[in-house]
């Protein structure tokens, strides 16, 4: 392959003498930023496929056991789910604002937005674990050997119009397995998000070079919006099953 080499000196070629944010393997900031975004999006593609497989499983069982799924979904409280949806939407908004201020290099404002996002994330987890997971765990409604499906374990959930006990405990476990697996993996993503956001806040606080480059905040933002995206589908699929 014929090539020619530039006549200028290698140091000049590398071009990172003047921009401290540029990593050595890149030619300019434009290339670096777009590489990061492409890399982040291809990571998000893996996340889409990751959750996608779960949604496929869910859809197949929902189709097969549609009546049972409607009955068992009465165990979930759509009001709590709705509050959580709104919390995540708010957090997404504040994250987007954080990225906005990062482009303007207003680190204090970025941190205020990120702090609000973390607050929302924590609230989400508290509601999820404290008000939704814990009562089910307490009433032996977690799938596994300790699973119980009787008047005692269901006393809180039996409502007029539904007949939970008519559902086979096996199918109920199947639904709850899917519920705990999907919301659990989503919850793990929220938890990771909190850790990453706190780390990013420290960087902004210290105003390190990696905080100066807005693309790092942008990448965390992309991840966080993805977490929101998953919940947007989880909410109607688990909490709002029509009869």
């Amino acid at each position: 392959m014929a090539t020619s080499t530039k006549s200028s000196s290698p140091v000049e070629q590398h071009g990172h003498g003047h921009d401290p944010l540029l990593h050595h393997q890149f030619e300019d900031m434009h290339q670096q930023t777009e590489s990061y975004l492409v890399g982040m999006w291809s990571f998000l593609v893996t996340e889409i496929m990751f959750f996608g497989a779960l949604f496929i499983m869910y859809s197949i069982y929902r189709w097969k056991y549609s009546h049972e799924f409607w009955e068992v979904h009465n165990l979930l409280d759509w009001k709590l789910g709705g509050i959580n949806t709104f919390i995540l939407l708010l957090s997404s908004f504040s994250m987007a604002m954080g990225v906005h201020y990062a482009t303007l290099k207003k680190h204090a404002l970025v941190n205020r937005c990120l702090a609000f996002t973390v607050l929302c994330a924590c609230a989400f987890l508290v509601i999820k674990l404290g008000w939704e997971w814990w009562p089910k765990w307490e009433h032996n409604l977690f799938p596994g050997p300790g699973f119980e499906w009787n008047e005692h374990s269901l006393e809180k959930y039996i409502k007029p119009g539904s007949d939970l006990l008519s559902v086979s405990p096996n199918i109920a476990q199947l639904f709850l397995s899917l519920y705990f697996a999907m919301t659990g993996l989503h919850g793990i993503h929220v938890l990771v998000g909190i850790l990453v956001l706190v780390g990013l806040m420290v960087l902004h606080k210290k105003q390190t070079p990696s905080a100066q480059d807005y693309v790092n905040t942008e990448m965390v933002g992309l991840y966080w919006h993805f977490v929101d995206l998953v919940w947007i589908f989880l909410y109607p699929l688990f909490y709002l099953i029509p009869k």
């Binding site: 392959m1 492409v38 990571f43 893996t46 497989a53 499983m57 096996n170 199918i171 705990f180």
Partner: protein, 557 residues
Amino acid sequence: MSAVAGPTVAPGPEERTNYLNKSHTIKSWLLTGDHKRIAILYLISVSFFFFLGSLAASMIRLELTSPTGTMMSSEAYNKMFTAHGVIMIFFFLIPAIPAVLGNFLIPLMVGARDLAFPRLNLASWYLYVLGGLFGIVAICMGGVDTGWTFYTPYSSLYSNSQVTLTICGAFVAGFSSIFTGINFIATIHKMRAPGLTWFKLPLFVWATYATSIIIVLGTPVVAITLLLVVAERVFHFGVFSPELGGDPVLFQHLFWFYSHPAVYIMILPGMGVISELIACFSRRKVFGYEFVAFSSLAIAGIGFLVWGHHMFVTSQSMYQGVVFSFLTFLVAIPSAIKVFNWTSTIYKGSVHWNAPFVWALGFMGLFLIGGLTGLYLGSLSTDVHLTGTYFIVAHFHYVMVGGTIMAFMGGLHFWWPKMFGRMYPDSWGKASAIITFFGFNFTFFPQFVVGYLGMPRRYHYYYFEPTWQVWHVLSTVGASILAIGFILPAFYLTWSIKNGKPAGPNPWGAKGLEWETDSPPPTENFRHPPIVTEGAYNYDPVADAEAVAKSAAKAGD
């Protein structure tokens, strides 16, 4: 042409700093961000796992020489073939070409200083090692007996072996290949040297790009599926459990949604390597370059639509089986395009019989048989007879060992001078290629026959049909020859690192961008950033014939 842009200042290779002699501490290797060093780390670890997997394979072959299995119990045999499969697939075949040759070559071929994300690259190697450790610990704690496919409900409800640990290993190794894939995608998209357009890229880069797409789109699906198997074992979640109304076949759907494309993760980079070798040693531009390039993408795309042919004899609907069978035949088209175009490239080329070319020819012969027998298995009615027999075992070994490992060895022989700056003895290279080729056919052709006769895979007793013994003994003898073919390179290649002749920047007279820099390359790859003006295979037969005549005259002096 290569001489034109070669390094203009040329002191001996020892005196120039390169990625190998830049620093010598262990820390500088373990914390490196340099893609070339990470490739060497991968080379060492991948070779180690290949050795482990081969040990298991030799135990299997020895056991099968007797129809009543004298060496080990049935449980031990189950664990042996599972160890062979898991190690070879997750820890050798999938990372072998992308993570070793791809890591080393992609930045060189696109004219970049490094991959886009060096730290992610290093993290990928550590994840690979961690996954491998999980696998080894699982073997030490008693092994797994599910087969590498981890089919439910056996793996989730019944097996008493180390399924959880092994799955964790495969899961972690999966993320290692995802990181590699993300890195390649960003690098190939964004880091190409000025002037290096897509259609000037070497076909190896195209193939690696297609592979990365498969990795990124497929691996997460198997990751979550295996995770649910672990959840089923540990927490008694019941997504695949027939007791709870789940469908175990759903596991197979999701498993093969990744694992069939994973076959292309293993073979596509090999095809890329072969394109490079054929072009270089025939001194011709690859015939139908665009077709070969797009056939890689076509294989990646169609490869996602054929997974159901692994499930023809399960409870999968037969109507869906018909569709999958049809789509399976479609994959044969891009694969055939590649083979025909390689053949046309060699035809009337000016062929140079160096060791890498012999390996490449071996690949073509074996891949041809492997690919064509795949058609038998892709058609519904023959598959019902052949499924779960040694016919399948022989088929995928022809593709995986005959294809991928021949390509890996060919690529290693081709780029070895670039990696270490030294030449190995060419005749030894040719000899081991020929030994491997014959040993391979000896090993696996008898398996086609015995499989067609009905020998089931994963059985070590066949006393009900003792006449099969002769085929198994043949196969085992062949495997010993095959072993020689793989052991020889280990010796002469390592020998050459210290004692080989210095290779110079371009020992083969090849045209790729990677041959324009020193061997071994400096840490920053190119002392002056290259600007590309010509395609990757701009060979000139006339000039080449002159060069040959010149060197012949020189030899005559």
